[in-house]
């Protein structure tokens, strides 16, 4: 109990010290909180995007095979499909049909995709919430598409995708195979690319190598590669946001360093008094470290809570444009609340620990002076 009471007394005095210099400490707390908020927001948001992309790609095919002509993606024939099916370890080879469609009236690009769900309802489309907003079209409305021959084809909106899937479906138009082929004038044995499953996931790389040798005019794209690309992309975008705020962070570091490492005359005097009236050096340092911990922990928790609200409740309004993309059709993405303890721990060690240490060092210098110097002042 004695030890606890001692800590309590010292904490009590540390808090009263902070309150005595409330203007300085409040300013420090605000700037500190802002920096933690920015860094935590970027980390939370980038992580949420990566998780979302990971979830989306979970159902994606193991390998996508695209045909290349003169280094550019070209359409692929059914003949390739048959050759792929002959490779050992490959199962479930399918042709995929998808295309980009530019709508000049709104200046937006849509992604047209043929799915099995759409196959049963020719003459209709299912559209993403972004497309619906841009065209102001809802269920039952007709949308006109300009075909390869210049003729317009009107298709009815059968469904608008729910906003929960907006990150991936914002610019999507789901269309039947017959309508797709008619719109773009594609023969029946031609596909945009091919997808396939590999029975043993460990063999994916080997299968990709076999594809490259068997069909030299194609490139296999592995799901793992896409995942890696997404992660790199979101990390890179997070890096851009951090770079933008690097100025603010630097200003904070200088400000915090100055405030934390230099003691005012009043603070030095106080440390001298404490030593003179019988406080040990270690007790003075304990009191000063409590001051540092209270400031940095409060800023850390406040910044973290604000970042959590910002990212998961207001969809990261501040960096939406940078982190999510720059198309005309901005997805309204509501990230699923998730916190990675490892990231929180990293943030903690990058913010709380250096500040607390920075607070103690100058106090240590002041606290090791002989207490008799106070008698001479």
């Amino acid at each position: 109990m004695n030890w606890i009471d001692k800590q309590r007394n010292i904490v009590d005095f540390a808090l009263s010290s902070l309150l005595r210099r409330w203007k300085k400490n409040l300013a420090l707390l605000c700037v500190y909180t802002f920096v933690v908020f920015i860094v935590a927001s970027v980390v939370f948001f980038a992580e949420a995007l990566k998780r979302e992309a990971g979830l989306v790609l979970e159902g994606a095919p193991d390998v996508v095979v695209q045909r290349l002509v003169a280094g550019r993606h070209d359409l692929i024939s059914r003949g390739h499909m048959e050759k792929l099916g002959s490779i050992t370890g490959v199962s479930d080879v399918k042709g995929r049909l998808w295309a980009y469609y530019f709508e000049p009236s709104v200046g937006a690009n849509y992604t047209l995709v043929v799915t099995e769900e759409a196959a049963g309802r020719p003459g209709t489309v299912a559209i993403g919430a972004g497309v619906s907003r841009t065209l102001q079209a809802g269920e039952g409305d007709l949308i006109a598409f300009r075909g390869h021959d210049g003729a317009y084809v009107s298709l009815e909106v059968a469904r608008v995708f729910p906003s929960s899937s907006e990150l991936v479906s914002a610019d999507l138009v789901e269309i039947s195979e017959a309508d797709f082929r008619a719109l773009f004038g594609l023969p029946d044995d031609i596909y945009t690319d091919l997808t396939l499953r590999v029975r043993n996931p460990k063999e994916t790389v080997v299968v990709a190598d076999k594809i490259r040798r068997l069909l030299p005019d194609t490139r296999p794209i592995l799901r793992e590669e896409i995942l890696r690309t997404y992660e790199a992309l979101f990390d890179w975008r997070g890096g851009i946001v951090l770079a933008i705020f690097a100025g603010a962070a630097l200003a904070f570091i200088i400000f915090a360093w100055d405030k934390a490492t230099s003691l005012t005359l009043e603070e030095r005097r106080e440390i001298g008094i404490l030593k003179a009236v019988g406080w040990e050096t270690s007790e003075v340092l304990l009191m000063k470290s409590w001051e540092g911990i209270v400031i940095s922990l409060t800023a850390f928790l406040l910044g973290l809570i604000l970042a959590y609200v910002h990212v998961f409740f207001t969809s990261g309004t501040l960096f939406e444009p940078v982190l999510k993309g720059w198309a005309v059709l901005y997805p309204r993405f509501q990230p699923v609340p998730f916190i990675d303890p490892y990231q929180v721990a990293t943030l903690f060690f990058l913010t709380v620990v250096p500040y607390t240490v920075a607070t103690i060092i100058p106090s240590w210098g002041a606290a090791t002076i002989d207490p008799d110097t106070i008698m001479r002042q």
Partner: protein, 230 residues
């Protein structure tokens, strides 16, 4: 038995540098318990240095210091702090009260690290302030107290750890005659309670007071004369 003993104590500041000087030179003395001793002398005579060494605030360059017959000269700082905390109460010339906190908080400040519960500490602080006639000012911020009240808060702070010895450096230097007499009256009460009181002063009001048991006159870091009360 002496309460404090100094044997051949020398204190040199800025040793080995061009501005080296000896604040104390070969000082030996014994102080008995329950008395009021005044170190008298002009500025720079070594009074404050002597009090700092006696009060375990500074270590001598040479010589030995005993408190309660226990040698403290070569003790590590941690032990010296412990002795200082439990044996001595200090009243500084400039008072050195912490601004921005109440009189009561100032009084109990030396006892915070003792581990005593805050409630019991506050009770003790209020009792001490009551003894000084300041109970009604306990929660007042130190800046709002008059010079005399602040002086009494400093006395109460010196007593909070119930020390056997009270050390005061030029306690009346900044006080008018009335406040100086009030201060001496407070010291007389402490003496009557059995405490040992050590002053550094050259104020005649202190040095010539009837309650002083012993006056040690200092000059150039040495004790040059001594007068005991009859």
């Amino acid at each position: 038995m002496s309460l404090i003993a100094l044997k051949g104590v020398t204190k040199i500041f800025n040793r080995g540098r061009p501005d080296e000087f000896a604040a104390l030179s070969d000082v030996s003395l014994e102080i008995e318990p329950r008395g009021l001793v005044v170190f008298k002398g002009p500025s720079g005579s070594g009074k404050t240095t002597l009090l700092a060494i006696v009060g375990c605030m500074a270590k001598p360059t040479a010589g030995r210091v005993f408190v309660h017959d226990r040698e403290v000269t070569s003790m590590p700082d941690r032990f010296l702090t412990d002795i200082r905390r439990h044996t001595f109460g200090f009243i500084f010339q400039q008072l050195h009260l912490v601004r921005g906190i109440s009189a009561l908080e100032n009084v109990i400040l030396p006892a915070y690290p003792s581990g005593e519960g805050l409630a019991s500490l506050r009770d003790r602080g209020v009792r001490l302030l009551d003894l000084m006639g300041l109970a009604h000012r306990a929660e007042t911020n130190i800046e709002w107290l008059s010079g005399g009240e602040a002086q009494r808060v400093a006395i109460a702070r010196a007593l909070v750890n119930e020390p056997a010895i009270v050390i005061a450096d030029e306690p009346t230097a900044h006080l008018d005659t009335k406040l100086s007499l009030d201060f001496m009256a407070a010291m007389e009460r402490l003496k009557a309670e059995g405490k040992t009181i050590l002053f550094a002063s050259h104020d005649p009001l202190v040095c010539e007071s009837a309650m002083v048991d012993r006056v040690l006159e200092m000059r150039d870091g040495r004790i040059v004369a001594e007068r005991r009360a009859p």
